[in-house]
């Protein structure tokens, strides 16, 4: 089942006096439950494509379909509500709320959805145990390691059982071992919850977890492949 379709999407940013094209006629379709990797060199448009897929940015041209429903022209409030219900985010810098405990950070999207306290607590506990931070729920982000923070972020992204998770360089701030653990965790949980994951990364080693790997180059879709891809040690 197709979750999202990106059809001939282009996007430019104004840099000084000139428009810089970041995406140029990109087509992409995401299937339900898929784990899709987005790779490419810096500045190739990965983050822009993620933002558009995550419904936090709008393309200049082209269309984005959500379950075959065109999102073009949808109001900001409608997009916010759609994100609130269906899209989870895992950021490179975690972006946890520093004044909240890990428990409250994970529960935050559930609060937005208006779930009861009991339901929130059940989901938070289950997810925290699943990501291995069950004992750290009362700690604030400042008292957690990078890997632990990213686990909290993953639990937060999964808490509302979204249809799509957008992960932008989720391992960039982590050491190699933690990075692999975190991606493994994300992969496992996305399978368990049948959540589509679109993950942008520089690290080609992460491709072994992907159902599909999309390579962007200069704003265009360069290739699309299915693993196993030979794991290379160098970064692209």
């Amino acid at each position: 089942m197709t979750l999202m379709t990106v059809d001939k999407v282009s996007k430019s940013y104004r840099v000084g006096e000139t428009d810089q094209k970041v995406l140029s006629g990109v087509d992409l379709s995401l299937q339900a439950g898929e784990f899709v990797g987005l790779v490419g060199p810096s500045g190739c448009g990965k983050t822009t494509l993620l933002n558009i897929c995550g419904l936090i940015d709008q393309p200049d041209s082209g269309h984005v379909y959500w379950h075959d429903r065109a999102l073009t022209g949808l109001s900001g409030v409608a997009l916010t509500d759609l994100r609130r219900r269906t899209v989870g985010f895992v950021f490179q810098e975690f972006n946890l709320i520093p004044v909240m405990s890990a428990r409250d950070n994970i529960a935050y999207p559930l609060m937005l959805l208006g779930l009861s306290r009991q339901e929130q607590a059940e989901r938070v506990t289950a997810l925290a145990n699943a990501v291995g931070i069950g004992a750290l729920l009362d700690k604030r982000p400042a008292h957690l390691s990078g890997g632990q923070r990213q686990r909290v972020a993953i639990a937060r992204a999964l808490a509302k059982r979204p249809e799509l998770i957008i992960a932008d360089e989720p391992t960039a701030s982590l050491d190699e071992e933690t990075a692999l653990t975190v991606v493994d965790l994300l992969r496992t949980l996305s399978r368990e919850f049948n959540t589509t994951v679109l993950v942008a990364t520089h690290d080609i080693r992460l491709s072994r977890w992907c159902d599909r790997l999309i390579r962007l180059h200069q704003g265009r879709l360069q290739s699309e492949s299915r693993p196993p891809i030979p794991v290379r040690e160098e970064r692209v």
Partner: protein, 404 residues
């Protein structure tokens, strides 16, 4: 509740800044409460003084306050005794006091000067309370056992005429018929009102002696004193209906000093209040601006997760509202302590312009004023925060997430 707790937690992000803003707000509220409390104390004192001076309601000839008299007691009241008796039947009335105003020359035989006189009933001193200081001698007693006319005179007038208690003076004035008349009086007491100009002219006699000097049984005015000042307006209205042929004047219509001080203070303290509020507003604006700037990425993350802009804005407004509320509470406590402190430790104010007597400083703590000032400060804090955060909250999510 979660939003409230989040807003509360956010206040602890930068404790020093929050504390500084909170303290400034508290000082602002203390300032507003202190100035308004001083103004309220002043209004209350002057209102009380004005009411005690001439009564809650003043009865005169209808033309008395409109037209200049051609001769003494031209527009005086006849049959004051029967009017007084009728008024004293009313349960709301505590007392009535008749007064005769007159003026003329006062002499010790060698030296003469002009005086401003008041013929009063002895109860006046009980009703008015401590409106003047007795420097020497005695005030008029309620029981009139003394023989001969007596007078209380102002301190400066006594100095001018070089007289002391027990010595004689002569009062000269024109009668209602236009003839010159004089009576001898003995100085019964020397008083100070605190107003030098008045002390150099003031002569008070018993009303009967004043009427004898003016050769009339009329009075200038009849002051009605009530048990409860709050009933003054209602009583005034009922008297207007009851005595349409008389001049009925409410106390505040003749309380020129009270009115002018009130108008002046309202302006001065109003401007001060605005300055204080502007300071509080700028402090909260600055804090909110800094907070939004520091939390731009977080705002982006919250928005990405599906938090509506209105909800994010509400969070910042709650934080500002909490600062305003907490600052107000601290300010109210501080102002309460100030008010109590001034009751315990007397601070003497210098004499006001044109007066010789200072007075103890007091600052009223008004619950109504506390409510109003707190509400204004909270609303102001929320508005200032709204202005500061509106743009930050509207920043595109991608831009906010990439904010360095």
């Amino acid at each position: 509740m979660k939003w409230f707790l989040l807003a509360w937690s956010n206040l602890g992000r930068n404790r020093r800044r929050t504390l500084a803003t909170l303290l400034l707000t508290a000082i602002g509220v203390t300032g507003i409460m202190a100035t308004s409390g001083f103004a309220l104390f002043t209004y209350d004192s002057l209102r009380e003084f004005a009411m005690r001076d001439k009564g809650h309601v003043i009865l005169t000839h209808p033309a008395f306050y409109q037209t200049q008299e051609d001769y003494p007691l031209h527009f005086g009241l006849d049959n004051a005794d029967s009017l007084e008796q009728a008024l004293r039947q009313d349960r709301r009335v505590r007392n009535t006091l008749a007064t005769v105003e007159f003026s003329g020359l006062i002499t010790n035989g060698d030296k003469s000067t002009i005086f401003v006189g008041e013929g009063v009933e002895p109860e006046l001193f009980q009703v008015r309370g401590p409106s003047m200081r007795l420097d020497a001698g005695r005030l008029f007693g309620v029981t009139h056992s003394d023989t001969g006319a007596q007078a209380l005179i102002g301190r400066s007038l006594a100095n001018n005429l070089k007289v002391s208690v027990g010595e004689g003076l002569t009062l000269m004035s024109t009668t209602v018929d236009g003839a010159l008349n004089a009576i001898d009086v003995t100085v019964r007491g020397i008083v100070s009102t605190g107003v030098p100009e008045l002390d150099s002219r003031l002569v008070m006699t018993r009303i009967t002696d004043a009427q004898r000097l003016l050769n009339s049984d009329r009075i200038t005015r009849l002051g009605v004193y009530l048990n409860d000042s709050a009933q003054a307006d209602a009583f005034y209205s009922s008297l207007k209906e009851q005595y349409p042929h008389l001049g009925i004047t409410a106390w505040h219509e003749r309380a020129f000093f009270y009115t002018s001080v009130r108008n002046l203070y309202n302006r001065i303290f109003g401007v001060m209040g605005l300055v204080i509020l502007a300071m509080v507003g700028f402090a909260v604006f600055n804090t909110a601006s800094m907070s939004v700037m520091e939390r731009t990425r977080e705002i982006g993350a919250l928005a990405a997760m599906g938090t509506r802009r209105g909800e994010i804005l509400r969070l910042f407004l709650m934080e500002a509202g909490l600062i305003g509320l907490l600052g107000s509470l601290v300010g109210l406590v501080l102002s309460g302590l100030l008010s109590l402190g001034l009751m315990v430790f007397e601070v003497q104010m210098p004499p006001p312009p044109g007066q010789t007597e200072g007075y103890p400083l007091q600052v009223y703590w008004s619950a109504e004023m506390a409510l109003v000032s707190s509400a204004i400060v909270v609303v102001l804090a929320v508005l200032a925060s709204g202005v500061a955060t509106f743009r930050g909250v509207r920043k595109p999510i991608v831009e906010a997430l990439n904010y360095a």
